[in-house]
Each structure stands twice: as structure tokens, then as C-alpha cells.
Amino acid sequence: MNYLLFNNEILISDGQVVKKIDQGDGSIESFGSIEKARVCCVDVDVMIASAPEDYLDKKDNILAQKFQDIYSNDYITLNERIDSNIFQVIGIKSEKLKEIYSLIPSSKVDTFLPYAQALRSLLVQRQVAMSRSIIFVDDLGQEKLITVFDGLKFSRTRTVHTDKTEDILPDIKRSHIDFNKKLGEFASTGLSGDFTVMTNSQQIASGIKLLEPGIAVEFLDCTYPALEGLKYADTPIKYRIHEEIIRERQQKELRIKLMYLMIAFSICFGGAIFFGYNKMAYSSIAYSIENDKLNNLRLKTALNRIDQYIYREYLRKSKSINYSNIFFELSELLPSTYEISSFKFIEQNNHWFLDVYLLTQEGQFDDGVPRTGMLKRAKIESFIIKNSIGKYLRIPL
């Protein structure tokens, strides 16, 4: 992990060694070897604003709009909650952001914070009481960075180019006054004119003590406090340029569109599978029945032909009844006391029957029908007609 501080010059640290790079220097190309980095930038503007925190989108829009009303340039803003419905809005010019991201790609940046926030992380880590007003003077050699803290709130970092403490002191006081003015109604309760100066320069600390004995001065033993603070700023907060946001939004929209497309395709695919399965089943059975129909036609044609060629044989076989022989045999079996009144050969369900009506001859007794020969299985009933006793016979043949 690398830690970078962007000011007029760039400080880069691998966690142990710190290098200074001028933007005109060719060593900027060494950024290409950086895998991951945490970045802070000095050149940011800060304001405190209120917004309803219940609705995140609405809140961000309101805060961005309020920031835009004060700072007319094109800014990218972040905000952090200070109190209930009160937020600290930190904006960086989009040009500056693009410039930084042109040096180190956004994909390699884990965290991108304002300088003051990185510094505050170190103070919190070093357990410095933040409930008081603290003015931090960061000695970067030729440059001195002055930042005012009031609890979580911090001011815009002022840069002073001097080595003389007596020149720094007025800027410290001016920064404190400006910050208090700017905070206005959002200043912490109990904030008085007192403040503590904290610096990482032994020389500045002793100089202030000498020049203004009334001002509390504390020394912080850290050469590059912002870079050190970046180590503890374990937060995903990151400024991003509009194009990246738009690109990400487009990618997100594309992903969503793809997801919907996949869902739609899956739904259609399910329907298509169902339809395809039934279509195949129907086609298969339809093809199969066509074969059966052809077979049926072939069989019927064959049967038709066979029928035409066998019906005469069938007729020949079905004409096995010799009516004259049967009638003669019946005449022989019947006693002479009977005469045949009427008869009928009849075919029923491929079985032949002979129905006979017998009458007794006048003056003759009814001797009864003998149960012999074909009459063994005959059904015999008696009847009376014209004073004569008659018999009805049904003889199966």
C-alpha cells in the first residue's frame, strides 16, 4: 500500500520512506508501479450545511446544491455527518480530481480523502482530545499547512510559505477567526476564543511559546502526519470524477438490463421448452398415426379383396341345410294323427330353426310328439284352435 499527499508538490510514501515529487519531474511515471494507494489532497473547500438525513439521495442533492451556491466552480463533493441533520461538505475541483486521476488511475485508489480528514485520523489515533479547538501547523519544509479543527469539523487548509514563526502566528490567528466566522451557528457549544496550537515542528512550537506565551502549544512527533493518518483512515470514502460515475452508472444500468434480459430470456426459454416438448410429442404421435392410417388402409384394401374372393365360398358353406331332407325326416317322425298346418325355416344369428304348427286330424286323439331324432331338442307347446288341439314346435337345426 502506498500513501500519497497531493499539494503543490506530491509526497509519496510506501509506509516507511517518503519521497517528494514535483509535478514537472519525470519520476511521476513511477506511479505506474503503484498497485494500491490511499490518497489525500490539500486543495479542498469545506462548508457546514444542514440537510434532512432521512432521505439519502435528497440529502446528497441538497448538500451538493448548497455547496454549489457558495463555490461556483465545478466541484465534486463528499459529506460527513457532524450532528443530527448537520453535515460537513468537502468539495474538490473536478479539474484537480481529473489531474490526480490522470497520474494515478482511480481503480488503484482505495481511499481518497481531504488532507484535513487524513490529519484528523492521526489525531484520533494518537488520542488527542478533539473536543477543543485545535490549530494544526504541518511543517512540510518550505510550506506550512494550517488547519483548524473544532471537533469533527475542520477548516480549509491554509498554506504559508515562510520559515519564520512570527510570520506564521498571524495566519494561525486569522485562520481561527475565519473558521469561527464560517462555522457561525454550527460552532460547537462552549467554543471560546481559546485554542491549542499543535505542530509537528519543534522549532515552530518553541517559537510560538516564546512569542505568545498565552497560547497552548503541543508538539506532535510525526514528520508527515497526513501520510501517517492515511494509514489509519480505513474508509472506502473516495472522490470520483463525473465520467467515472457516469461510466459506473452505465455499467450498472447495463448489468441491470442484462439481468432483466436474462430473466426475460429464461422465462421465454421455459415457455419455449414447454412448447417444444409438446410440439415434438405431437409431431411424433402424428407421424406415428400416419403410419397406422396407411397400415389401416392397406389392411382394409387387402380385406376388401379377400372378401370379394371368399364370399362365394362362405355362401357355399353356409348353405349346408337341406330343407327337403329335414322336412322329410320331420314327416317321418310325426305320428299320423298330426298334420302340418304351417312351417317356417328361419335363420337367426347364424343358426337355423324350423318352426312347425301341427294340428290333430279330425276325430283323432292327441298322441303327443315323440322325443326322437331332431325332436329331441325341440321346444314343444300346445294350443287349441277351432276345437282342435295343436302343437307348436321350434326345432334347432
Binding site: 415457455g271 412448447f275 409438446n278 405431437y282 397406422d292 382394409k300 364370399y311 328361419i346
Partner: protein
């Protein structure tokens, strides 16, 4: 747009499922039809196998069969002495001879219903001889007798003449 895509997909899917259900229903009907047809085909095959056992002979047209029957009746009348009158009983009008045909148990073989009336004869007439004449008539032609009845000294023979 995304929701529209889902709605369109749902509509397409609905149509596909609806069409699929119609096809499924059709397939069920066709399957039932196929089962019936398979059963019918098996029955036809069995019938063919059964009928192949019969001796096959050249079929006769119904016109020829009728001519043969008329000739045989004349022969019986001449040599047997039994006077017969043939009556076509199935239809009264003679507009179309096809109307006279009835279905037989053989495919494309026509049945021509008719009645033969044997003229009144006396009590002394030999009924055995008359029945024998009818027996001969039936055996020499494609006539199939289905009923012979004698009432009040009259003999009625009902049957069908077969031909193609």
C-alpha cells in the same frame, strides 16, 4: 424498458404455454385415435388371417348372379315342375338399382334382397320335392336363403343374392 421486456417475455411465454397446452391436448386426442386405430388394425389383421383360410374363387358381378338365378329358376320350373315368381322386395321404386343393395358382412360385396314366391299348390303337392328344388336353386346360385315359410298353401322364400 426493463419491465416492458419482462412483460413482453411473459406475454410470449403465455402464448408459448397456451400453444403448448393446445398441442398437448391434440396429442392426447391423436394418441387416443392411434390406440383405437391400432386396435382396429389388429382386428383387421386377425380377420384377414381368418378369412385367408377360406378357399378363394373369382367374384361374380351381381348382374351375372341375377341372370344365373333367373336361368336356374327356369330350369327348376321346367324340370322340377315347381312354378316360382321372383319379387324384389327391398324397394318399391326402381329408379336406381343401387338403392336395392344392402350391406353384407363382406366389404364391397352387395346383397340384393329378394323374395321367391312358389305358386299355390294343392295338398297333394310333394312338399319335399319343392323344398329340394329350393335347395338346388340355392346351391347352384349365389342366393343365400334366410327364411322359408309355408302358410295357407303358399311358400315364400326370402333371401339375398350376393355379387360385386
Amino acid at each position: 424498458m426493463n419491465k416492458l421486456m419482462i412483460v413482453a417475455a411473459l406475454m410470449i411465454t403465455f402464448l408459448l404455454i397456451h400453444s403448448g397446452l393446445i398441442l398437448r391436448e391434440k396429442a392426447t386426442q391423436v394418441r387416443q385415435e392411434k390406440e383405437n386405430m391400432s386396435t382396429e388394425n389388429i382386428a383387421l389383421s386377425d380377420e384377414i388371417d381368418e378369412k385367408r383360410k377360406f378357399r378363394q374363387s373369382q367374384p361374380e358381378s351381381i348382374a351375372n348372379a341375377l341372370t344365373l338365378l333367373v336361368n336356374e329358376i327356369k330350369m327348376v320350373e321346367i324340370y322340377g315342375g315347381t312354378r316360382m315368381t321372383m319379387v324384389f322386395t327391398s324397394k318399391r321404386d326402381n329408379a336406381d338399382i343401387q338403392d336395392h343393395f344392402v350391406d353384407t358382412e363382406f366389404r364391397h360385396v352387395k346383397g340384393f334382397p329378394l323374395t321367391i314366391c312358389v305358386d299355390r299348390f294343392s295338398d297333394e303337392t310333394d312338399m319335399v320335392a319343392v323344398l329340394n328344388d329350393i335347395y338346388l336353386l340355392e346351391n347352384r346360385t349365389d342366393l343365400k336363403v334366410s327364411e322359408i315359410s309355408m302358410q295357407s298353401n303358399g311358400l315364400i322364400v326370402k333371401g339375398e343374392l350376393y355379387g360385386i
